[in-house]
Amino acid sequence: MNRREAIKKSTWIAKSAIFAPALMSAIQSCERKLSETENLLVLNDQQHRLIEAIADTIIPKTDTPSASEVKVPQFLDLLLKDVFDQEVTEKFLTGLEQFDEDCKQASGKSYTQLDQSHRNDYLEQIDREVMGKEYDTLIPFYFTFKQLCVRTYYSTEQGIKQNLNYVPVPGQFQGDIALGAGDKIMVGNQM
């Protein structure tokens, strides 16, 4: 890895370490039920279903797998347990809860209870409002959530192999060649 890779990597980690609720709305403290399912580490079933619903709306099944088909929610659960600081985990879970509260305010239903077309409509609004911007200190929950989802998806075997041009051993480096319209991003085994 070289200098530019390091810059990209650290920028992302720095940003992802800070979470704030969706659309900067106030954090509400709530009692949380812990995981009841043996397979889950930190998330409870409702949180897991919610993550699955949002993640599969961001990355649905097409001719390639959806986010949940490659176990993106389970990996986020693992990050909450082993990777994030306690404080970040708290903020993530609060942000997730706030996301659903906002959805209930707007639609009268939990996001998990919406049908897929309403899920799309609702998330599109949030996505347009939050993404493609830069943030200084407070980063909206959804901003981080989406990036985590996408990056996790592209760290899975099927996420990579079925969507991108996976070339673990490229051979001799060629510096300047033509890129065809529609040619996919080439990735190897770097993390």
């Binding site: 600081d85 480096f173 060649i177």
Partner: protein, 591 residues
């Protein structure tokens, strides 16, 4: 062993007398006595091992870490991201155990086994002067992890101190080391471009450089059209880009995976593990002991020379002594210096070979972490094939042909262009997003720096004999900070990088400048410097201790000034040169 020595002695009459002497010592303790002892198996220790063993000398290499065999002990080399439990993320536990090491760009689950556990390997620094010490204790040391930039110093560096009246003059000039750069480059394989930038000489044995990509070609053209004093070149790197069969024994060409820090199963980049140590083993003259920490050098007052080393087995804590005619310290700057400090005698009460009193002082590291990046318009239909383990460089252009700035010395600029990959921050959800995520984004050009640090007496390493680590080696304490000259230079670096990104026609330029932390560039050096005058230096022009002629130090300790380019190639060249000198002195019976 004795038979072998006899054979060599007969073959080379020059050694005959000396071998007779060795055999007397061997009668005392044959199994613990060698012709040469090399402390450390990294960048320089590997070279000392290769040079001595190839000249027929029985050589003991002492490595404090575990053994790492080329290929066999690179467990992650071919693993895919999804095969790592936490993929690219560091766990809280890893960040606790490796609280310093994990801050380095090439530390992750695929490479952490080549870094020390910070909780086990403590060192100290004053609260207001942080020092970051990145280490790999294993066969090959940090040669497994290095950035692989293989740069020559020029007389711009070797004459710098004399010209500015800073520190002391280097005892050597470019002409003294140039043949040794050739020698090293030929063996390790350096991919680089032939160019006429005199302050960063190119080597005659260079392999073809890694190609520039489209973005870099555009930037090169624009920069070179604008600045008469700047060239953008592929940085020379210790990688095999092209090899004739058998040219590099057991090593083959780079496969552009850019996973170097996991250890290369192709042996495409230079490490002790892939290159020098196998060559040394092939001679039959190498003994390498792992988990063997050198506590001190044994100095014999009556013979007035170093006779051996005292070691501690890091697994059993057992102490042993080994003996040799010549001892090379190649244990990395801070460790070699600390070993000398820990080898006090009545004659050398401030540390062995320290009659000058400069041992431990004049610690240097380069400074870095000023840079910027910008987006390039156009070139959407150009791409590269593979993941290049190299960058581009704009060699030093400040104060090259005379003092022109309000600071001394200079800096180089490094960087590269790439197409933006999966852009997770973009607007969009669903099938449309999935499609867009598979497509490359624009060209991005990024530039950073590596800059020279002046030698300063107050920047130093010490040992605290009242506080031992768990193996009984004194605690190492580093006190160092950057000075006014470095800070002034950083202002200019920031301005120049911003200006160059603008000249290159880039948009949305983002600049950054961090507070530099000593050690962070991982080029610690200078604490047992070379010099002509034994009252102001520890080593002479052949890395030989002025005070103890059969003791040499050839790692970064010997550096007199830092230059701005990475120093490994210079350490290797100085080591091979010192070995050549030491063997000649042995033949003459001088040591």
């Amino acid at each position: 062993m004795c038979t072998l020595r006899l054979r060599i002695a007969l073959k080379n009459a020059g050694y005959a007398v000396n071998y007779l002497y060795i055999s007397v010592m061997e009668m005392m303790n044959d199994s613990n006595t060698y012709d040469t002892i090399v402390v450390g198996s990294g960048m320089t220790g590997g070279w000392a091992a290769k040079e001595f063993t190839e000249k027929g000398l029985s050589t003991l290499v002492l490595e404090r870490g575990r053994d790492v065999k080329h290929v066999k002990d690179y467990p992650t080399a071919n693993m895919a991201p999804w095969e790592f439990k936490h993929r690219g993320h560091l766990t809280r536990k890893e960040k606790e155990q490796y609280f310093i090491q994990s801050q380095k760009y090439n530390f992750d689950a695929s490479s952490k086994h080549f870094f020390v556990n910070d909780q086990e390997h403590r060192y100290e620094y004053p609260e207001d002067k942080p020092f970051k010490w990145f280490r790999g204790y294993q066969t090959g040391g940090r040669s497994l992890l290095w950035g692989r930039g293989a740069y020559r110093f020029s007389d711009l560096e070797f004459k710098a101190n004399a010209k500015d009246g800073i520190g002391i003059d280097w005892p050597i000039r470019y002409k003294d080391i140039a043949p040794w750069y050739d020698y090293i480059e030929k063996f390790i394989g350096v991919a680089g471009a032939q160019h006429d930038v005199w302050q960063l000489p190119s080597g005659k044995h260079y392999l073809p450089p890694f190609e520039l990509n489209y973005g870099e070609k555009v930037v090169k053209e624009r920069l070179e059209a604008h600045y008469s004093d700047r060239k953008l070149i592929p940085n020379p790197v210790a990688h095999i880009t092209k090899a004739k069969p058998g040219q590099f024994k057991g090593r083959s060409a780079c496969q552009s995976r850019n996973l170097c820090h996991r250890g290369c199963p192709y042996g495409a980049y230079f490490s002790s593990n892939s290159s020098t140590l196998p060559a040394a083993y092939d001679t039959g003259n190498l003994t390498l002991l792992s988990n063997t920490l050198v506590h001190s050098v044994i100095y014999d007052e009556h013979q007035d020379k170093a006779v051996g080393v005292r070691v501690i087995n890091t697994q059993t804590n057992q102490t042993t002594e080994y003996f040799a005619r010549v001892i090379f310290l190649c244990a990395s700057t801070l460790i070699s210096t600390a070993i000398l400090m820990n080898s006090k005698t009545s004659r050398f009460s401030d540390g062995l070979a320290n009659s000058s009193g400069v041992l431990g002082h004049y610690l240097m590291d380069h400074h870095s972490k000023v840079g910027g990046m910008g987006i390039m318009e156009g070139g959407e239909d150009r791409i590269y094939q593979g993941f290049r383990p190299a960058m581009t460089a704009i060699p030093r252009f400040r104060n090259v042909n005379g003092q022109e700035m309000d600071f001394l010395r200079g800096y180089g600029v490094w960087g590269g262009a790439y197409r933006q990959g999966t852009n997770a921050g973009q607007v969009g959800i669903g099938a449309g997003l999935k499609q867009k995520l598979t497509q490359y984004g624009p060209w991005i050009m990024s530039l950073g720096t590596q800059a020279e640090t002046l030698p300063n007496y107050n920047n130093q390493v010490e040992i605290d004999e009242n506080k031992n680590d768990k193996w009984g080696f004194p605690m190492i304490k580093v006190t160092a900070e950057y000075g006014e000259n470095e800070m002034l230079m950083r202002e200019d670096i920031y301005q120049q990088i911003e200006e160059m990104l603008e000249v290159a026609g880039l948009k949305d330029i983002e600049m950054h400048k961090e507070t530099p932390v000593f050690g962070d560039t991982i080029h610690e050096m200078g604490t047992a410097r070379m010099g002509r005058d034994q009252s102001t230096s520890v080593l002479n022009g052949y890395n030989q201790c002025h005070d103890v002629p059969n003791l040499f130090v050839t790692d970064g300790s010997c550096m007199v000034s830092s230059g701005n380019v990475s120093t490994s190639l210079t350490y290797m060249a100085l080591t091979a040169r010192a070995c050549d000198y030491a063997v000649k002195q042995m033949k003459k019976g001088n040591i």
